[in-house]
Symmetry: C2
Subunit: 219 residues, 2 copies
């Protein structure tokens, strides 16, 4: 069984690797977890010993099969708890992250399966991120970054890249949530900001490229 800290390292590596694709480096992990690089090196040796990561000095790390499975389990728990907090306890989507960071470490397989059932087997969390199933399988939605599509295109908000509280609060304010329909009326060449229509209403708003770069919409 993994310690609280080990789980956090494994999760950080999973995220930094782009869900397991790329190698991850010491400095990046230390930044993600707000620790020092030396601490990361110590932990990488420990995780390598436990065969959770493939580690070669100075070469970065990747997760092993077993490490990947552990990461997906923690992510599953995190996202299910987020659904619980938003759907059942009426939290806003910008308030749930810190609490889910704690809840994700609760150890009980039965608990998480019962929670999943109670929530009626959600496929996505409140930010649109997919919830891995018991076997770590993820349902991938076909989607593109809003910033990558052309004028005239329309789609539904599927997922957010950035989930900071300030970003989520801004989206609340302008009326964007998961499932909101967005139509791109015009892209300003100068700054790549977009003039969009929300849910086929008459209201048009302008969003900066910093915003459109962080919203995925369905294809």
């Amino acid at each position: 069984m993994l310690s609280y800290t080990e789980e956090n390292y494994i999760k950080a590596i999973f995220h930094l690797s782009g869900d397991g694709e790329k190698d991850v480096f010491t400095n990046d992990i230390s930044e993600e977890l707000a620790t020092k690089p030396a601490s990361v090196t110590d932990m990488m040796k420990k995780l390598a010993q436990k065969e959770l990561v493939n580690y070669k000095k100075y070469q970065g790390v990747t997760l092993t099969k077993s490490g990947r499975a552990s990461a997906l389990k923690v992510i599953r728990k995190h996202r299910l708890w987020e659904v619980f907090l938003v759907e059942k306890l009426k939290f806003n989507w910008d308030e749930v992250h810190e609490i889910a960071e704690q809840l994700e470490h609760i150890q009980s397989n039965l608990l998480i399966e019962r929670l999943d059932e109670f929530l009626e087997f959600p496929a996505y969390d409140p930010h649109g991120d997919p919830i891995p199933n018991e076997d770590g399988k993820i349902k991938v939605k076909k989607m593109v970054l809003l910033s990558d599509v052309k004028e005239g295109f329309a789609g539904d908000v599927a997922c957010l890249k950035e989930t900071s509280s300030s970003f989520l609060k801004y989206l609340d304010k302008i009326g964007i949530k998961i499932g909101t329909n967005i139509k791109i009326n015009h892209i300003v060449e100068f700054d790549s900001s977009m003039d969009i229509t929300i849910d086929n209403t008459k209201i048009r708003i302008n969003i900066s490229s910093d915003v459109s770069k962080n919203i995925f919409i369905t294809l």
Copy 2:
């Protein structure tokens, strides 16, 4: 803020002191928490330093006001989570303790208030123990140990002293739960076992004094 371990010590002291009445001794705490007496002494110094306990060498400890408040907060969380597990996630009353032991340490005032609301402000947990309110106030039910009442007496099961899985499973089997009406038909002088009627049915069963000593009924 208290560490996970400190919270467990404070909670153990609260329970061992009979909810704050008596002095508590090193050996008892070490037994309760499955640590060694020397470890307890270390922690008592630390908790005294933080003004959570009154500690005098060799004399035992008591909780301070602040220690008592911390204990009640952890107990509140533990019991609310137990209600959640039983009422919402369909756990049996003998399965919830270990999970609640973990959940009770999650830090978020908002979470616990929202959970309380979601559960519709329960006053008692699945074992009949009272749930302290936000201010640490407890609603005391008037009750007596089943073993302390006379033949002919009847009352409703209010609370259990022992909450081990084996005891709870036995109660399940013989049909006793919180709220069950029990009438004492006869007490066997030899072993103090009791012949009882459950919920005014025609079925009579015999329970040992080990059982009757662990069931509280309403006065």
